[in-house]
Symmetry: D2
Amino acid sequence: MERLKVGVFGGSGYGGSELLRLLLGHPGVELELVGAHTHAGSRVDAVHPNLRGLTSLEFVETKVDARCEGLDVLFLSLPHGESMKLTPSLPEGLKVVDLTGDFRLRDEEVFRRYYKREHTCFSLQERYVYGLTEVNREALVGAQRVANPGCFATCVGLGLYPLVKHGLTKGRVFVDAKTGSSGSGAKPSAGTHHPKRVNSFYAYKSFAHQHLPEILQGMKEVRGDWEADVVFQTHSAPMVRGIFATIYATLSRSMEVADVARCLEETYGEQPFVRLVGDGVVDVNWVKTTNFADIGFALEGDALIVFVAIDNLVKGAAGQAIQNMNLMCGLEETMGLWLPGTHP
Amino acid sequence: MERLKVGVFGGSGYGGSELLRLLLGHPGVELELVGAHTHAGSRVDAVHPNLRGLTSLEFVETKVDARCEGLDVLFLSLPHGESMKLTPSLPEGLKVVDLTGDFRLRDEEVFRRYYKREHTCFSLQERYVYGLTEVNREALVGAQRVANPGCFATCVGLGLYPLVKHGLTKGRVFVDAKTGSSGSGAKPSAGTHHPKRVNSFYAYKSFAHQHLPEILQGMKEVRGDWEADVVFQTHSAPMVRGIFATIYATLSRSMEVADVARCLEETYGEQPFVRLVGDGVVDVNWVKTTNFADIGFALEGDALIVFVAIDNLVKGAAGQAIQNMNLMCGLEETMGLWLPGTHP
Amino acid sequence: MERLKVGVFGGSGYGGSELLRLLLGHPGVELELVGAHTHAGSRVDAVHPNLRGLTSLEFVETKVDARCEGLDVLFLSLPHGESMKLTPSLPEGLKVVDLTGDFRLRDEEVFRRYYKREHTCFSLQERYVYGLTEVNREALVGAQRVANPGCFATCVGLGLYPLVKHGLTKGRVFVDAKTGSSGSGAKPSAGTHHPKRVNSFYAYKSFAHQHLPEILQGMKEVRGDWEADVVFQTHSAPMVRGIFATIYATLSRSMEVADVARCLEETYGEQPFVRLVGDGVVDVNWVKTTNFADIGFALEGDALIVFVAIDNLVKGAAGQAIQNMNLMCGLEETMGLWLPGTHP
Amino acid sequence: MERLKVGVFGGSGYGGSELLRLLLGHPGVELELVGAHTHAGSRVDAVHPNLRGLTSLEFVETKVDARCEGLDVLFLSLPHGESMKLTPSLPEGLKVVDLTGDFRLRDEEVFRRYYKREHTCFSLQERYVYGLTEVNREALVGAQRVANPGCFATCVGLGLYPLVKHGLTKGRVFVDAKTGSSGSGAKPSAGTHHPKRVNSFYAYKSFAHQHLPEILQGMKEVRGDWEADVVFQTHSAPMVRGIFATIYATLSRSMEVADVARCLEETYGEQPFVRLVGDGVVDVNWVKTTNFADIGFALEGDALIVFVAIDNLVKGAAGQAIQNMNLMCGLEETMGLWLPGTHP
C-alpha cells in the first residue's frame, strides 16, 4: 500500500500537536509538511519536545504553494477565520479536513452572530460534509472536504444523537458541559495560568457558545421535527484533557432503563469508537489521549440524564479528523487510532 | 468578654480539621476538647501538621463524659449515624452544632430511604434548627441545637432561595453540582487516588444523593407552594476545595436581567457572607478557604442559569457551623470568619 | 493603640496580593494605599476577587507623591529594577520594606552580574538591613529600611544558618531547591501554562540564580571563615505554593543525630516561625499559606541532609515582610501572622 | 512472523497496567494471559477502563500451571517478595522479565538489609541479567531471564553511566531524585490522597532506598575502581508520571562543556531511547508516557550537574521490560515502543 502524503497547517497549537502525534504513528500516511505561522523555520521537535527523535521536520509558512500540490490530504488546524483565507486557493483535487469553525455552519447569518465576523467565501460551505463521524459516516466515505466538528459539538452531539434519532425527548434539553484547560489552546492566558487554574471551576459563554448552533444544525439534520430547544452552558474544569457533558432531558414517553439502553445499543453498537458504559463509570480519565467516546445514562421517571466523555483533542479534534481522513481515503476507519488510553 | 469553651468531636476528618483551623484563630472561643475515635491519645498536630506550633492539645475519645459538662458549645463532625448514638446522652444545657446528616431531615421515612439506616432517636430531631444561616437566621439566634446543612445543600439552597422566595420558577429545575476531592473526606479511596483524580471527571449518585431531600425540605419551608421538582446530579471534579452549582430554571414570568438582579439583591444585599457577582466571574477559586458564597446568573428568554460557588469545607461545613455558633451564642456573626481567601 | 498607616506598591502581583491578604487582617495596621502600575483606577477586588467584600480600595499609580507622606510604612513589591527608580524620592521618615532584589546585595559588581543591569543608586544600599528575620532580628528592631530576602534565599538561608553558625560543614555544599508555580508570578507564561505545568518538572538557571550571592553574603556575615562553596540548583515543580530545599553537606566533625538536633534547637528553639520537625515529615503542604519554615534533617556517617519547606509567598515574601515590619515598628513579631495553614 | 505468546503476572497494578497498554499495541506479541491475585475472574477492562473495547481478557490467578507452559515470555510485575515464591516452579524454557526487586542484587546480605526480608531462592539470582538496557544490551540479547531495573535505578543509572564509564567524577556524588505519585502504585494511601498530594513535596527513605545498592552494583560492573560513594535522596512530587534526577558530581579533571557533551554522545549517540538534550530543557513532561530518557547537563568549574527525566512506568518499568523482551527474543529493539509522548 502506498502511504498517503499528508500535510498539517497550524501545527504548533494543541490540535496540530495532536495531529502530529497521531499521524507520525499512522501506518497509512507519510507526514510531508507542517505549517505554523509563528514558528516557520524552527524544528518541529523544538516546539513540541515530546516529538524529539521522532521527526526531523521543520515548520514552514502556512501558505498555499507548490508544496501543497503533492499532498493527498491537508489538515487545517488554524484559528477560526484563518481557514477561510486559505481555502479559495487550495488545489481542487486536495482532500481537506478543516478543524476550524469556518465551514461547519450552513446559515451565514448564524455564522456571523456566533463567530462575530464576516465570512469571506461562504459559497464554498456547501461543499463540506459535517464530520461527526458516527452520524454522517456514509457521506464521509470518499468525501473531498470535511468540516471537522467542534470539541463540545462532538461530545454533545454524540450524547443527543440516540435521543433525537429515536425521538425520546420532549421540551427543553439542558446541557452542562465541562472542559479541561487544553481546550483553551497552547497560548498562555489568565484562565490557564497554573496557580489559578488548578483549583478553579467556572462557567463561561452563557447562551453564546459557537458550538450550540452546530449542535442544533447537526441534530435537525438527523430529525427535522426535533424541537431544538437546548440550553447549553460550558464550564472550565481544572483538568488538562477531556470534556464531560451532562445532558438533562425529559422523556416524551414512558421508558424503562432497558428501553433506553436498547436505543443506545441500536445507535452505537457497531461503532468502533463509541463505548457504551453500562455498569461502569463514564469518566474523562478513561478516554483521555484516545479517540473513544464513553456514554452512559441514568433514568428516573421521565427524567433522563446522559453522560458523555471524550478527549477534546482527540475525538474532539485531531482523532476524529484522522478518523474522517480514513473514511475519505478508503482506509480502515480505526487505522492509526486504535490506541489504549494512558492511565495513570 | 469571657471566651466560650468549645469542643469538637470528630476532629481528625476534614470537617473537623477545618473547625480546628478556624476555632484556633477565633477570638471569642477557647478550644478545650478535641475528640477523634481512632487517634485518641495522639497530639492533634501529629495528625494535622499544618497546626504544628499552634496547639498542644491531644485527641480524646469521642464519648460523652464529665469533660463535656464544662463546655458551652460542642461541634459534632462525625460520620453520618455516629451523632445519633451520642446525642441522647449529651448534657441538656450544652449548645450543639451537628455537622452530620442525622438531624436535618424532618421525615423519618425520607431519612431511612436516603441514609439507608434506621434512626435511633428520631424524636429528638424536632429540637433542631436547620442551619442554612441566610435562610434561617432568626431561628438560629440563641438556638440550642443546630443541624448544620450538607455541603451541596448549602450551595444549592443558597442558589435556589431567591428564586423560591420570589416565586421565579415554574416546572422542573435541573441542578448540576461539582465538588472537589476534599468532599470525599480524609480517608484515602479509589476516587481520591492522586494518579486517577488529577484528570478525572465523573458523575455519581444520580437521583439518589442524600442532600436532595434536604434541599427540597428547606425550600418548601420558604414557600409551601413551590413545586419542588428538582433533578439533582453531583459530579467529582479534579480540584481539592469547592463546590460549583449550576442551576437551570425556567422563569414563571417574563423578566429582565435587572429584575433578577433585584431579587438577588433584595435577598442577599445585607448578608455578610453572600457576595453577588455582577460583572465578575463566579469561580471556586475566589471562595476557597473562605466562608463566602459567590452567586451570579445568566438569563435568556425564560431560561435562567444561576451559578453558586462555595468552599465545601468552610461555608459548606465548618465555617457555617461557626457562623451558626456565633448566632447561637450572641457573638458577632462574622467573628473568626472574616478571612480573605487564599490566592494563588 | 493607633494603627500604622501602610501602603503597598506593586499590589497586583502575587507578592502584593499576599501582602493585601495579610495586611487586611492585621490588627495593627490600616491599609491606606495600594499602587499597581497597570491597574491604576481599578478596584482592588476586581483584580483580586478573593478580596471581594473585604476592601473597597482602588489601585493608584505607583509613584511617590503626597499620599506617601502620610504613611508609616511602605512595602515595595515591584519587579526587580523598579524599586531603585522610586527609592531616591521616598520621604526620609517613611519606613520601607523592599521586596525586590534591588538593595539586598552589598557588592555592586555582584549585583550587576546576577541581575544583569546597572544599579542607579547603589550608595543607598548601605542603609538597608537584610531582612532574614531569624538571623538578623536585632538589627531589624526599629530599622528604617529593610531589604526583604528572596524566596529561595530565605528557604536556603534558614537551612544553612545552624550549620554555618555552628561550623558543622566542610567543603562544598549542594543545594537542590524546588519551587511552585506561584514563584513565577501572576503573569501567564509558557512555564506556568496549566496544560504543561501540571505534569512538568525541570531545572533552570544552573549556576546563575540571583539568590545564590544573597545566600552566600548572608552566611558570610554569620561566620566570616565559612567556605561559601555552594552549588545551587533551582527546579520548577508542579505545585502552586511552596519551596522545598534539600541541602547536602559533609560534616566537619563526627556527630550523632542528637548533636545535630541540639544545634538546630539552640538556633531555632525560641523562634516563633521556625518549626523543628523531629519525627514528622517536612512537606510544603504543612506550611503553605503560612509564615512558618519547617526544618528537619537526616544523617549518615559524615553526610548530612537538611530539609526546609516554606511558602514562597509568605515566609518567602509577604509574610516575612510583615514580620519585619512588626519588628521595625515595635509590634509583636507574630502579629497578623499567627495563622494556621490551610489543609487540605 | 509468528507472534510471541506473552503473559503478565501482576496485571492490576500500575506496572502491570502499563504492560497491558503497551503489549496490546505491540505488533510482535499476543497477550495470552493476565494474572492478578485480587481480581481473578474479573474482566481486565473492568479494572482498567482505559482498555475498554481493546481486550476481552479476564484476570486469572497468579499461579504457575499449565497455562504458563504455552507462553514464550512471562512478565512478573508483582510486589517485592512475590516473585521469589513463584520463580522456582516456572518452566525452564520460559523467558522471564522480572519487574520486582527480587533478583536484581547479587549480594544476599545487601538484599536482606534493603528489602528487609529473607530471600527464599537466592541461588537462582545468578541466572539473571540486569536489564538496564543501554548498559547491558549485549548480555540481554537472547537472555533467558532478566531482572528489570527499579525506576529510580534506571533514571540514576542512565545519568551516572557516562560519568562512570569515562571516569569523570571524583569523591562523593549527590543524587536528588523526585518521583510522581504513580510510583506509589495503584493502591490508595495517605501519601497519594489527592487533597494532600496536589500541593505536597517531601523527602522520604533517606539513606535507605532499596534502589541505591542496585545503582552502585550496576555502576561498579561498568568500572570496578569507581568510588561508589553516593548520597541518594528520593522525594515525592505532586505530579503523576515521571522521575527527575539531579546528579551533582565533582569532576576528576578539568573539562569544557564540549568535552562532557562528547562523553554523553559517545555513550548514547546510537541508543534509540536516550535523547541528549543540548539547547532544550529536560522535563518529565516531554518523556511522560514514553520509553525515552532525556539527559542534559550543566557545568561550572569542576562542578557538574546531570539532569535525567524518564517516565517511571515506561522506561522505569513496563517499557524497559518490553525493550528487554525485544532483545531477548530477537525482535527489533524499538518494536511496540516507538510512540510519541502525549502533550498536553
